[in-house]
Subunit: 134 residues, 2 copies
């Protein structure tokens, strides 16, 4: 077993927890869909599919598929909470396939829309490859 | 500040890393779409939206929106890797709204389909609420 010369990830997954959000924004399917599309565009991503759903009595689920990635949002207006996931393909593996998506631009727009009072952001490296596989 | 009497999550998020998968399965949009639909059904979930995309030269992205939840899959056939996320609404908050989805049934079917040689599974509690908010 030699040294691990390098370690690279295929995907970057940002997990956002938004608390104390604007309650109206959380229950507004049209506003959420628009924000997700804009945030994908501003991040430099190409949208290849989408699906949205409004729940009864409240709550919205939305997913936008961008090239080799996705943005998903689930909201609970009754708790002022939104769960946001931004999954992007890393640019450091297979650069010819990648889209140079900048996830920070996507989540800035989303945070601006929901106006959370508190939040957490976690970044998870997905598909971590080592050494000779890269 | 009193004791935190209870702590409950709104969502349960399962993050699956599948390595050494069946390469044909990873690049088969139809097979992946079918597996995602079946896994949602077997988990007791109601599908409310979906979007799939096949990349050139290879790779598939798919998202199925189930009631207050989603299943997403991104594949990299060239690395034998699939990133799977299963996000479900917890049954211990607002049971009248919940769908009693069993995420383990969903990921068993997905694992069966991709046949990974190695894998990791992480569970993240999303929307953690404390005490009087519940």
């Amino acid at each position: 077993m030699g040294l691990v010369r390098q370690m690279k990830e295929l995907g970057k997954h940002i997990i956002l927890e938004l608390f104390g959000c604007d309650v109206k924004a959380l229950d507004d399917l049209k506003g959420i869909a628009e924000t997700m599309r804009k945030s994908a565009e501003e991040a430099g991503a190409r949208i290849v599919g989408e699906a949205f759903h409004k729940f009864n009595p409240q709550g919205v689920s939305g997913v936008v598929i961008i090239a080799e990635s996705h943005i998903s949002i689930h909201t609970w207006p009754e708790f002022g909470y939104a769960a946001v996931d931004i999954f992007t393909c890393s640019t450091n593996v297979n650069p010819s396939n990648s889209t140079n998506v900048n996830p920070s631009k996507a989540y800035k727009r989303i945070i601006e829309y929901f106006k959370p009072k508190t939040m957490s952001l976690m970044e998870v490296k997905r598909g971590l490859l080592m050494g000779d596989k890269i």
